[in-house]
Symmetry: C2
Subunit: 110 residues, 2 copies
DNA sequence: CATTTCTTATACAATATAGAACAAATGGAC
DNA sequence: GTCCATTTGTTCTATATTGTATAAGAAATG
């Protein structure tokens, strides 16, 4: 039962966060970024689980960063988006665009 | 373990199809519309399962149409998007927009 | 060694998916 | 007219994938 044509909605959001964060992203920061931008409060577990899956699919890659010199500042696991991840984002965007094109006339009042 | 902040990606696509089809949408047509616009081939079972879920959530409503006078033209179950469905679409769109705003500088080359 | 920052593990709910079974309509064969 | 094969359309069943929260674990330092 193959899948994988489109990203899940959280996958998409997290990938977009990684793009903006330019390789400085670790779990906590990704979570904060999403919350600040969208108001959506995701649990930290949800973030890591999704990052894990994205890495397994080859959309992102993770590596270990240096610990920062502060109370509890342990080494971070940093995430970076890969080419495949960017392409997946583009496909998702294109799909929604195709479905949306010229829809104004049908929308009506809400 | 509540959920329901955002639409799933297929839910979103199907809602968009319903907007365009303006109350003339039944399962087979929704499927065809999506395939023609996006090239994505979804099984008919997937379409109906999603429509079912969307109706349960109050995003769409279904009713029975007249049979058309043609070979096998049995009565159709028609689907129409409701106000709540349109609002859900807007929230999804807004969320992606927030995550996307000003991202060009970070995108780089693929 | 208690506290802080960060990650992993665990468990379960919600979505996505395919394929097969089922249902209703009708054009012909007879 | 009445079967019935064919067509159009829907529902059922079963499973994979994603989304989610909470708790447990691990490393750093004052």
């Amino acid at each position: 039962m193959k899948r994988g044509q489109l990203l899940g909605s959280l996958e998409q959001i997290i990938l977009l966060a990684l793009v903006r964060l330019d390789g400085t992203a670790h779990g906590m920061i990704v979570r904060r970024e999403i919350e600040e931008r969208t108001g959506r409060n995701i649990s930290i577990g949800a973030v890591y689980a999704t990052l894990e899956r994205l890495e397994k699919k080859g959309y992102i890659r993770s590596f270990t960063g240096e610990p920062t010199p502060q109370r509890g500042g342990r080494a971070k696991r940093l995430f970076r988006i890969e080419g495949a991840g960017k392409r997946a984002l583009q496909i998702s965007e294109q799909t929604i665009l195709s479905m949306t094109a010229g829809l104004k006339d049908h929308w009506g009042t809400i």
